[in-house]
Symmetry: C2
Subunit: 300 residues, 2 copies
């Protein structure tokens, strides 16, 4: 093992033990995300997960992206500000550890003044896209709990915007009165696309269409999977309406897990836009690897 790549987010921590050719030898996943631990837990958590793998005789570099660098995380890695290249390892914050078996660096997130916005973690996936597709010029959509739309040009992040679409969907599905009317695993593509189109054309109607899911389930036997797909479509639709300046007439790359990326791809496809899809985890790893290479080159 040459070094360790780490994506330390709010809910999860993923580690990859990287060989000296830049390939992952092993992948470790844990639920010890920022929300589950306090500051003092970071080092023991990391050492505990790497226990079997750390050599006795040398210090292993660990390069971290994500919420571990936030004020509530391990050590704050102050934001870089757009327009900027995705922060590389020389912008990373060195963490003082008690153990000398690891040398930890946390990559900074990115902020934007107007409209005020922040990201932590996605900048590393964007670096991964630029690695995978050198010279990419266009828009990167990163759907998730807090979906990001990012304008990238000449290797720089120019501007971006965050939409709470995934979190809203989860809250409505699990905590609202709609939870009685939603469920299942099957995606009703048609219901999704009709709802996207409706919300894109008339964003305000989303406000009334939400409770209609409950009413139609009570009075007309609307199925839970159709209702759920329609809810997803309404929320993605109003997001697409708000993010229209980002995607309209642009080259769009979606970075996300398969099902979610497919949904966004279908929604954009219905608007006549053919987006490409890149895997979220692959882009994180590519971004961390690029930052690592830069660090090694700078050190030599």
């Amino acid at each position: 093992m040459d070094w360790v790549a780490a994506d330390w987010g709010t809910s999860n921590l993923r580690l990859w033990l990287m060989d000296d050719a830049g390939r992952p030898e092993r992948r470790i996943e844990s639920d010890q995300g920022m929300a589950a631990i306090v500051r003092e837990d970071y080092e023991p958590t990391l050492l505990g997960l790497l226990r079997r793998d750390l050599p006795e005789d040398r210090t292993v570099p660990v390069l971290v992206c994500g919420m571990a660098g936030s004020r509530q995380g391990w050590v704050e890695a102050p934001y870089a500000r757009v327009p900027c290249v995705p922060p590389s390892a020389d912008a990373a914050v060195r963490v003082e550890t008690r153990s000398s078996r690891v040398a930890v660096r946390i990559l900074p997130g990115i902020s934007q003044d107007d409209p005020t916005d922040v990201m932590r973690g996605e900048e590393t996936q964007i670096a991964g896209v630029l690695q995978e597709r050198p010279g990419f010029d266009g828009v990167i959509c990163l759907p998730g709990t807090h979906t990001k739309w990012v304008h990238v040009s000449a290797g720089e992040i120019v501007s971006f915007r965050t939409y709470m679409t995934g979190e809203l969907f989860a809250l409505l599905r699990e905590r609202s009165v709609l939870r009685h009317s939603l469920g299942g695993e099957t995606w009703d593509r048609e219901a999704f696309l009709v709802a996207v189109d409706r919300a894109l054309s008339h964003p305000a109607t989303v406000a009334g269409d939400l409770f209609a899911l409950r009413a139609e389930s009570l009075l007309r036997g609307l199925g839970p999977e159709t209702a759920q797909s329609r809810l997803s479509g309404l929320l993605v639709g109003i997001e697409l309406a708000a993010a229209r300046p980002y995607w309209l007439g642009q080259q769009v790359a979606i970075v996300g897990e398969t099902a979610l990326a497919d949904a966004y791809r279908a929604a954009l496809g219905a608007q006549g836009l053919e987006a490409s899809v890149l895997g979220a985890e692959a882009m994180t790893l590519a971004g961390l690897t690029a930052a690592w290479r830069h660090l090694k080159e700078t050190a030599q």
Copy 2:
């Protein structure tokens, strides 16, 4: 005590012991709403709360409105369908009770086919408004967890629409990432009105403005009370955009608790519309009393 008026909702139960002149002698409030109890609990809950007050020698009529009449409630009181007058006591469902000390009737809710919608409890407040303002012709707005906009004409409920504004606000304030950035009791009227105007003019921007509350709190020290007022304004604003056909150029009466009714009144006022405000509890009681009188007249 002549009879008992009851508003049995999802979260709360309120009882009023009414004298034979139609005035409340005593008011009892309990948290034993539909969500807290099962079917078998309704009768013991009611008898327990009325224990001190029920006479030994006769049966006391109890007239109930609200979610107790839903399928998951005490006994289902099937919906009346618009257009219709607010259901009176002769449309109420008689509940079989073990005890002969109470004679319970539950008022039905109202449904609408297109757009599909339902209400339970608000129809009684609407009956109250028609009692308080005979001949009222216009629109009644009932803000709350599930805000209703209702078109009333010639004594009938013509159409209505439900918006989950209150529930969305509570979910975002208490359960989302925004909870770290919101709080306090003071209403920032200016921040509220600016947000209403923005969401009314450009409903889709709400999708991006939500996370901006978090980002501005992190980067610019946006205060929790201003952030909370702005969130409220964004959600009320998109509701007003969707409900525009209801209020534009109409006579509007708001039925709600003071603070919430004031917020809606201010939002509509900024659009040049002067709405009147009626107390929510007073309208519930007026509606139950009207239904009760009708029942007595019919019985004679």
